[in-house]
Each structure stands twice: as structure tokens, then as C-alpha cells.
């Protein structure tokens, strides 16, 4: 199989030495089936062992290898080198997150937000196991199915300028996950989650840029989840006004 040479321009940041990040170019031979992550692994193994980045599954499932490839948040394991033929491929850490080293960003804020929305099924009262599982129809599953495909890769946060301007914003993936549970027929935790998603820095901070849904590698539509959550919240508030005795439940 013939090999071409790709120029990979990678952000380097070594906090113990560098005051700020800079770019470093590497020449990487590649075949048609190689992706940007393969190029990073090639650099690490053959050219520069100090290059630091996250990766794990290599097949678009774990969500670890997200980076800005050519200015767009992408999974490096799903970005083929031949698509950038003839161009220098710029690989930068995900935007809006603090950089720890090279392509590795600090995920703490995102992790806190994930926990904050309580991503598990909340029941008012748990049924005993002998009563069996909480059953659900195909239609009920369909209401939230796509939102359960999120792999927490944070590409949507990197694409979101609202999060870039205000890191307190709950953001796309956490809201999509919250909506996934709000719409789950087995869940009874609306009263717990609504105050979280509807606080000032929650869904109402979103101004419908929509780029989160464009970059999602799993076909999740966080923009839709955010707007649906807004609609649910507004409907709920209206019901509470019209029917103060339990209308907003």
C-alpha cells in the first residue's frame, strides 16, 4: 500500500517549561486507513515520546480522544488523515477547557456538571426486586433514546461559544443527559432535576447557536434537548400558575 506524508501541527504545552502553548510540526507517513489518532501514536512512538494526549478505545466509543482537528472539535480516532490531503493538519486541545499538558485538558468542570444533573433513575419509592424490572414500551424508549448515546467526549462544549463565554453554563451534554432522564418513563425525579436545569446558568443561558449538535459524533442533538427542556419548564411554570395545587407536576 502506498504511503503519503502528512504534516501534523500539534499544540505543545509543557507547564513546567512553557509559559504558553506553541505549535510543533511533525511529518508522519500514512496510509488511507489511518486516522489522526494513529498519527499522534506514531509521533509518540517514533518521533517525540513527550507528546501527551488522551485516548483509549480507538473506535469512537470511549470519547477520550477529542481534540480540535483543523479548528473543528472531533474525535481524533474518527478523523481520517487522507481527508486533509495536501494541508497541514492542526491538532489543538479542546477549546474552552484549561490545558493541563499538550492536548490534555482539565475535565473537572464537565464531570461536576454530569454529577450535578443526577444521571440515574430516581424513584419516589423503589419497588422490591421480586416485582421485576420497571417496564417500558418502545414508544417510551424512543422519547429519550438518542440522548442516551452521549459518550461524554465534550466536543459539544468545545463547540459552544456560550460555554466559552460563561463556564457556569450547564452546557449541551449535561442537559442532554438530564433530558434523557426527564423523558424516561421510569424516572420520577423531575422535581429534583428541574431546579437544576432551569436555574439561571441552566438551559436559559443557551442562545441557540446549534453547533453542539453539528459536532456530536454520535448523532445526539443536545440543542434539541435544551430547547425541549425549556418548553417543559415553561409549560410547567404556566401549569403552576393556572393550577397552583399540583398543576406543575
Amino acid at each position: 500500500m502506498s504511503q503519503d506524508i502528512a504534516t501534523i501541527r500539534v499544540t505543545r504545552y509543557r507547564p513546567e517549561k512553557d509559559g504558553k502553548p506553541y505549535f510543533q510540526d511533525y511529518k508522519v507517513p500514512y496510509r488511507k486507513d489511518m486516522v489522526v489518532l494513529d498519527a499522534l501514536n506514531y509521533i509518540k512512538a517514533n518521533l517525540d515520546g513527550t507528546l501527551t494526549y488522551r485516548w483509549s478505545c480507538r473506535m469512537g466509543v470511549c470519547g477520550s480522544c477529542g481534540a480540535n482537528v483543523d479548528g473543528v472539535p472531533k474525535l481524533t480516532c474518527a478523523s481520517f488523515l487522507h481527508e486533509f490531503k495536501g494541508r497541514t493538519i492542526k491538532v489543538e486541545p479542546l477549546t474552552h477547557f484549561p490545558v493541563i499538558k499538550d492536548l490534555v485538558v482539565n475535565m473537572d468542570d464537565f464531570m461536576h456538571k454530569l454529577v450535578e444533573i443526577k444521571p440515574w433513575i430516581i424513584r419516589e419509592k423503589e419497588s422490591p426486586p421480586e416485582e421485576g424490572e420497571y417496564r417500558q414500551s418502545a414508544e417510551e424508549l424512543e422519547r429519550y433514546d438518542q440522548f442516551s448515546s452521549c459518550i461524554n467526549c465534550m466536543l459539544c462544549y468545545s463547540a459552544c461559544p456560550v460555554y466559552g463565554l460563561n463556564e457556569k453554563f450547564l452546557g449541551p451534554a449535561a442537559t442532554a443527559l438530564a433530558y434523557r432522564y426527564i423523558e424516561d418513563s421510569r424516572d420520577q425525579g423531575k422535581a429534583v432535576r428541574f431546579p437544576i436545569v432551569h436555574e439561571i446558568e441552566g438551559v436559559w443561558e443557551c442562545t441557540l447557536v446549534g453547533e453542539c449538535s453539528v459536532v456530536c459524533p454520535k448523532g445526539v442533538d443536545p440543542m434539541l434537548a435544551i430547547q425541549k427542556t425549556k418548553i417543559l419548564g415553561a409549560t410547567n411554570a404556566l401549569k403552576s400558575l393556572v393550577m397552583p395545587r399540583g398543576g406543575g407536576k
Partner: protein, 131 residues
Amino acid sequence: MSKEKPFPEYRRKLGPGWWLANSHFTQYMIREWTSFFVAVFSLIYIYELSLFASGARADALNLLKNPGVIAFNVLALLFTLYHAFTWFYLIGKVQPIKMGKTTSKPWQALLVNIVLLLIVSFAVIEILVLR
């Protein structure tokens, strides 16, 4: 264990030109700018109404005929139409309607809303202006 980080993290800030980074951001910002044109249009409109109300009809008509005001109104109209059309499209994305086994597409919502906009606009002109 100390929580202090051994080395500083590098924090990047969104620069003023972030919206030029990709075409979606630019389209979004153009939609956001509409508010400026609508606000200025509203101020001019209120001023014109105040001129009419105070009896300065000639001044109000002169202002309406001012080439600068006409040019601004045309620009404001273009921005408002852009806002309306992109918003109609987004309605289709946010509130798709299930029709049997298929779901409506955003462009269908755009089309329906444009037709509704035309009907309402003609009705308003017919009732309030031409009568």
C-alpha cells in the same frame, strides 16, 4: 494530599473574533445583530409617532422620506427577514411534528411559516392600511 496543582494550567479566552471561526457562528451572529436594527427601527418609529402626536406632521413625513431613514429601514427589513427565516428553520429543528411514521423536516417548517407570515402580513395590511 495537597489540592494545589503542581503546574499552572493554561486558560484560553474567547477572542472578539470568535464568531468568524466558522460559517455557523457567523450566521448565528448575524441573527443576533438583528436586535440592534430592530431596536433602532423601534426608536425611530416611536419618534415618528411622537411627531405625529404633537402635530408636527410635516416633520414626521420628512423624516419618513429621508434617504438615510429609508436605507436604514431596508437594511432593518433584510436583517429581520433573515432572522425570521433562520428562526422558522430552527422551529422545525426544535419542534419536529410526527406524521405517522415520518417526522417533519426543518425546511417544511420554514415553508409553512413563510406562508403563514405572508397571509398574516397581507391580512394586517388589508385590515389596517387599505381599509
